[in-house]
C-alpha cells in the first residue's frame, strides 16, 4: 500500500519527536555529570582562593607601590615585569599544571611560573636606612676611592636631572648631592670611570649639558622644586586646593559637615592657605558653632591679615557668641579694610544668602524713623491691570448693563460724597488714592453685574435708597473688607457683617442697613450698644431708620437712654427729638404699648 503524504508527514513527525526526546534525555544525563564536574571545579577554585588569601595576609613586605594603592587585598594590578623577563616556557595545559603544582607546592615565590592563572606583582624588600644619601656616599667611595674625605650635606639631594634613554621605554633620574670637601685625593677605582676634574661653575658648561646643571645654580641655591621635599610641598598645596574646591561644592549643596571635613583635610595638607580656614569658619558658622568658627578666623587672619572676609566671619562668630563689642570691632575693621582692598571677586561668597538678623553695624543703619505699615490684603495688586480689566469689561458689556452700572455708579456717588471726609481720613491711613478705591469698587460691582449674580434685589428699580444700597452691598466681595476692618474709621460702604468685628470698632452707620447689621451684633450687649449709639449723630436718625423703626430697636434705644445716658448725665434730648422725627415713630409707639 502506498504511503500517502499525510501519513508520511505523520511518520516524519513521530520520528522527529523521538529524536527530540532522545536529545533531551541525552542532555539531561549529560547535565548530571556536568553538574558533578562543575561542582568539583568550584571547590577547587574556592580552595585556591583561600590559599591566596592566606598568603597575602602573611606577606608583610614593604612594597614599593604608591601610597594610594587600592584598599583591597587580592585585587590584581597588571604585570609589572617587562616581557623579556617573563618565563618563556610554553603554557600548554599539562605542562601548566605541572609547573603550577611544582612552584605552588614548593612555595617558591621567586619564580614567575607560579599562580599562572593570575597576574603577578614584583615586590622587593628593602632595608630602610639605605637612603639616597647613603647611596650617594657609596657611589662616591666606589668611584673616587676611600681617600677622598668629604661629608655630604643634608639628607636630600640638591637637585636632580631626568632624561630618557632613546629607543627604550626607560629613563634615568640623576640625583645631585652637595658635599663638603675635607681633604684627601681622588683615587679612581671604578674601571668605567676614565677621568676626573675639579672645575668651576663657569667651566661646568663645557663638560655637561646645559639642562643638567642649570637646575642647581650654585649661586642661587633655591630653584623651583629643587628637592623632592619641595616637590612634595607643591603637590600637597595642589591637593589642598582640590580639597578646598571639594569643600566649596559640598558647602553649596548644604552638606556642611562634609564640607568641614574636606576643608580639614585641605588644612592638614597645606596649613599656609588662609582660604581653607576661612571657608571652614564659614561652614562652622552655618552649623552655629561660633567658638570654633572664631578660632578658624583667627587662624586665617594670622596667615593673611588683609583677608577681609575673615574679619566679617569672625565678626559674625563673635556676634553669635554675644561678644558684641568685639564683633563691632571686627566689622569696623572689615569696613576699613574693604576700602583699601580691591573689590573681591564677583562670584557669590558664602555670605550672600545667609540670613543674619543684623549685619549692619549701628552707625550704618538707616536713619529714617520707623514707620508703621499697615498690613493689608489687597485683592487686586496692580492699578494698571485693574484699569485695563475695567476697560475691558466695560467694552464687553451690553448696553443695558451699562445703563445699570451707570445708575449704580450714580447712587454710589451719592454715598461717596456724603462721607468724603471719612474717606479721606481713611485714605491717608491706607495711602491709596481715591480713584483706585472707587475704581476698585466700580470694578467689583461691574464684576458682579457681569457675573450675573442673581439677587432679586439687584434688578429692582425701586427707588428706596436703602434697598438699593442693601442689594449692592450684599454683592460686594470680601476682599475689600479686611482692609477696612483694620482702620478705625471706615469707608463705610463696604463693611461686612463679620462676626469677628468687635463692637468697639463698629463703624458709624450711614445707612439703616448698616445699622441693622450692627444692631444684630450689639443687641445683646447693652453697653456696646450704648457706645455704638453714642457715635451716631442724632440728626442721622431720620436717615438711618428710614421709613420705619423697628419696635424692638426703639425699645432697646430707650432702655439705653434710660440706663446710660441718665447715669452719665448726658444730654439725650436731641436724640429723642430726632427720634420722633423718624417716620412712623408715632406708629411704632402706638404699637408698643409699654412706653
Amino acid at each position: 500500500m502506498a504511503v500517502s503524504d499525510h501519513e508520511k508527514k505523520m511518520v516524519q513527525l513521530q520520528h522527529d519527536m523521538r529524536n527530540s526526546q532522545k536529545d533531551l534525555a541525552d542532555y539531561l544525563s549529560d547535565m548530571t555529570s556536568w553538574e558533578d564536574e562543575i561542582k568539583q571545579k568550584e571547590k577547587q577554585l574556592l580552595s585556591q582562593k583561600q590559599n591566596t588569601d592566606e598568603e597575602l595576609s602573611k606577606e608583610k613586605m614593604v612594597a614599593q607601590t604608591e601610597p594610594s594603592a587600592s584598599p583591597y587585598t587580592g585585587i590584581v594590578y597588571p604585570i609589572t615585569k617587562p616581557p623579556h623577563e617573563r618565563s618563556k616556557i610554553k603554557q600548554d595545559e599539562k605542562l601548566k599544571k605541572k609547573i603550577q603544582e611544582a612552584a605552588d607546592k614548593s612555595g617558591d615565590m621567586k619564580t614567575t611560573d607560579r599562580k599562572l592563572d593570575r597576574k603577578l606583582i614584583l615586590i622587593v624588600q628593602q632595608k630602610l636606612g639605605n637612603d639616597l644619601r647613603w647611596t650617594a656616599n657609596k657611589a662616591l667611595v666606589n668611584s673616587c676611592g676611600n681617600g677622598l674625605e668629604s661629608i655630604i650635606l643634608g639628607n636630600a639631594p640638591c637637585g636632580y636631572f631626568k632624561y630618557k634613554i632613546p629607543k627604550t621605554a626607560d629613563g634615568v633620574k640623576m640625583f645631585f648631592f652637595k658635599a663638603c670637601y675635607k681633604g684627601g685625593n681622588v683615587k679612581l677605582s671604578d674601571p668605567s670611570i676614565k677621568d676626573y676634574k675639579w672645575v668651576t661653575h663657569d667651566e661646568l658648561s663645557e663638560y655637561m649639558k646645559p639642562k643638567s646643571w642649570d637646575k642647581f645654580d650654585v649661586k642661587s641655591d633655591s630653584s623651583e622644586y629643587e628637592t623632592d621635599e619641595e616637590w612634595e610641598m607643591e603637590r600637597k598645596k595642589q591637593q589642598a586646593l582640590i580639597e578646598k574646591d571639594r569643600g566649596n561644592e559640598l558647602f553649596k549643596k548644604g552638606d556642611y559637615s562634609s564640607a568641614i571635613e574636606a576643608y580639614t583635610r585641605g588644612m592638614t595638607l597645606d596649613p599656609t592657605n588662609p582660604l581653607l580656614s576661612a571657608n571652614r569658619a564659614m561652614a562652622l558658622l552655618k552649623q552655629e558653632k561660633y567658638a570654633a568658627a572664631e578660632l578658624d578666623c583667627v587662624t586665617a587672619l594670622s596667615l593673611d591679615p588683609l583677608y577681609v572676609k575673615a574679619y566679617l566671619r569672625r565678626g559674625s562668630a563673635r556676634f553669635g557668641l554675644k561678644k558684641f563689642t568685639e564683633a563691632k570691632e571686627d566689622f569696623e575693621k572689615e569696613l576699613s579694610k574693604e576700602k583699601m582692598v580691591a573689590q573681591t571677586e564677583p562670584s557669590a561668597s558664602p555670605d550672600t544668602g545667609i540670613v543674619y538678623p543684623i549685619t549692619k553695624p549701628p552707625h550704618e543703619r538707616s536713619k529714617k524713623p520707623l514707620r508703621r505699615i499697615e498690613v493689608e490684603e489687597v485683592g487686586v495688586d496692580d492699578d494698571e491691570l485693574q484699569k485695563a480689566a475695567i476697560a475691558k469689561l466695560i467694552a464687553n458689556q451690553s448696553d443695558t448693563k451699562k445703563q445699570m452700572t451707570q445708575r449704580d455708579n450714580q447712587m454710589f456717588e451719592q454715598f461717596t460724597d456724603s462721607s468724603d471726609s471719612v474717606q479721606k481720613k481713611v485714605q491717608n491711613n491706607i495711602s491709596m488714592d481715591d480713584k483706585s478705591q472707587t475704581s476698585r469698587n466700580k470694578e467689583n460691582i461691574s464684576d458682579k453685574s457681569h457675573q450675573n449674580i442673581v439677587k432679586p434685589e439687584f434688578n429692582l428699580t425701586s427707588d428706596q435708597d436703602s434697598t438699593v444700597k442693601t442689594s449692592r452691598l450684599k454683592t460686594v466681595p470680601k476682599t475689600t473688607d479686611t482692609k477696612l476692618d483694620l482702620s478705625s474709621v471706615s469707608d463705610s460702604k463696604h463693611s461686612d457683617d463679620s462676626p469677628s468685628v468687635s463692637p468697639r470698632s463698629l463703624p458709624v452707620p450711614q445707612t439703616s442697613f448698616q445699622f441693622q447689621k450692627d444692631y444684630k451684633v450689639v443687641k445683646n450687649n447693652l453697653e456696646a450698644f450704648y457706645n455704638y449709639l453714642k457715635k451716631i449723630d442724632p440728626c442721622q436718625y431720620q436717615k438711618l431708620f428710614g421709613e420705619s423703626m423697628d419696635a424692638e430697636i426703639l425699645m432697646k434705644m430707650l432702655t439705653v437712654f434710660k440706663d446710660y445716658y441718665i447715669s452719665s448725665n448726658e444730654d439725650f434730648y436731641p436724640h429723642l427729638c430726632n427720634l420722633t422725627q423718624v417716620k412712623r415713630f408715632s406708629m411704632t409707639v402706638i404699637f408698643d404699648g409699654t412706653i
Binding site: 527530540s20 533531551l24 539531561l28 547535565m31 577554585l45 593570575r118
Partner: protein, 354 residues
C-alpha cells in the same frame, strides 16, 4: 526537524518580585535578585541538583536590587556587582555578603541596568562596570577606584534628562579600546567610545530601548541588538560606520508586546534569544549577507544588514520575562525570571547543530 527545542526544565516559585537572574560563573549555581514586598532587597542563590534547584543561600539587603552582573570580577573571586533602587552600585562577595566589597552611591535614582567587562577571562584591559540610571547618567566604574566613577556620560546642565534603560559594553578587544552603548526611554541609542572619550554614534529608534547587547564584548564591534517597546527590535551591523547614515540595521517585529531584551548564545554569536512582554521567548539566528560592505553612490562604504531567521519560540508565562541568562559553562542551559515571581531553568537542545 533539526530545530532547537526550548524545554522547561525546572520551575520555581518565589515569594518576592524578581528582577534579574545570573549564572555564577564556573558553577552550577545561579543568583536571583529582586525585592521583597516589604521593600528590602533579596539575593537568593540556587544550585542545580539532579533535576531540581535547591536554595543554597538567602540574603536580605536593606534596599531592593534591580540588576546585577558578574562581568567585571575575576573567575577566582566571582564578585557580584549590583545596582539598587537608590542608585547605589555595590559589589558583593557571595561567600561573605554581610558587607559589600565595594560600594558607591553613583546615581540619584534607580540603577536600571548594569554591565561588566574584562572579568571572567573575557575581554582585555581593566575590569570595569557600567551603570545606567533613571537620572539619565551612564557611569563607568573601576572597582579599584573608590567613590568616583572613571567616566560619566550625562546630559548637560539644563538639558532634558531621559531615563537610561539599558547599557552594554562592547568593542573591548584590546587593552585600550572599549565602547559603552546606552539606550534611553525616548528611543535614543548612544554609542560612547571610552578610548577617545567621545560620542561615536547616536540614533533614535522612536520607542524606548529596553535591552541592548553586543554579540560579543571582547571582539571588535560586530553586531548590536537593541530591543524596544512596541514589539520591535533592531540588529545593527557595527563593522562599518557610515559618516551620516551610521550603522546598517534590520528591524524585526516579535512577541506582539514589549521586547524586554536579547541575549546572545555564548557559543555562537549569531544566535540570540529575545524576551517578550507576553511571556514568550524567541530564538533567532542571524545570517550575514553575501556582501557585508557596499559602496553607496558617493563611494563611501556602508554596511549591509543581514537576515533573521526564527528558529524556535515558546510561551512560558503570561507575565513579561524580564531577565534571561545563558550558562557559560553548559551550552543550552539557561535561567530566566518573569514578573509572575517564578524562576525557570530552561534547556535548549540542538544548539550545536544550528
Amino acid at each position: 526537524m533539526d530545530k532547537p527545542q526550548i524545554i522547561l526544565h525546572v520551575q520555581k516559585s518565589v515569594n518576592y518580585t524578581l528582577f534579574d537572574t545570573k549564572w555564577i560563573p564556573q558553577s552550577a549555581k545561579f543568583v536571583a535578585l529582586g525585592n521583597y514586598a516589604r521593600g528590602t532587597g533579596a539575593i537568593q542563590i540556587y544550585e542545580m541538583d539532579h533535576g531540581d534547584v535547591k536554595l543554597v543561600k538567602e540574603i536580605e539587603k536593606s534596599k531592593s536590587l534591580k540588576c546585577g552582573t558578574f562581568g567585571a570580577s575575576s573567575l577566582q573571586q566571582r564578585y557580584l556587582a549590583t545596582g539598587d533602587f537608590e542608585g547605589k552600585m555595590q559589589i558583593w562577595n557571595l561567600e561573605s555578603p554581610e558587607l559589600p566589597v565595594y560600594s558607591a552611591k553613583g546615581h540619584k535614582e534607580i540603577i536600571n541596568a548594569i554591565d561588566g567587562v574584562a572579568g571572567l577571562g573575557i575581554g582585555e584591559g581593566a575590569p570595569e562596570i557600567v551603570t545606567g540610571s533613571r537620572d539619565g547618567a551612564v557611569k563607568v566604574w573601576d572597582p579599584r577606584q573608590k567613590n568616583d566613577p572613571v567616566a560619566t556620560m550625562e546630559p548637560g546642565e539644563g538639558e532634558d534628562k531621559r531615563d537610561c534603560w539599558a547599557v552594554a559594553f562592547g568593542h573591548a578587544y584590546t587593552k585600550e579600546d572599549r565602547c559603552v552603548c546606552s539606550g534611553y526611554d525616548n528611543g535614543d541609542i548612544k554609542l560612547f567610545d571610552l578610548r577617545n572619550m567621545s560620542l561615536r554614534w547616536e540614533t533614535n529608534v522612536k520607542n524606548g530601548v529596553c535591552g541592548l547587547e553586543f554579540d560579543r564584548k571582547d571582539i571588535s564591534m560586530n553586531k548590536l541588538v537593541a530591543t524596544t517597546l512596541e514589539s520591535k527590535f533592531f540588529v545593527y551591523d557595527m563593522r562599518t560606520q557610515h559618516p551620516t547614515k551610521g550603522f546598517a540595521s534590520l528591524t524585526e517585529k516579535a512577541h506582539k508586546s514589549t521586547v524586554w531584551g536579547a541575549k546572545h548564545l555564548p557559543s555562537n554569536r549569531d544566535v540570540f534569544m529575545t524576551l517578550g512582554g507576553n511571556g514568550s521567548l524567541n530564538l533567532w539566528k542571524y545570517s550575514y549577507p553575501s556582501k557585508r560592505v557596499t559602496e553607496d553612490k558617493d563611494g563611501i562604504e556602508t554596511g549591509v544588514a543581514g537576515t533573521l531567521n526564527l528558529l524556535q519560540n515558546t510561551t512560558l508565562s503570561t507575565q513579561p520575562i524580564s531577565s534571561y541568562d545563558w550558562c557559560q559553562a553548559k551550552e543550552g542551559l539557561a535561567v530566566c525570571s518573569s514578573f509572575d515571581q517564578t524562576i525557570r531553568v530552561l534547556i535548549v537542545t540542538k544548539l550545536n547543530r544550528i
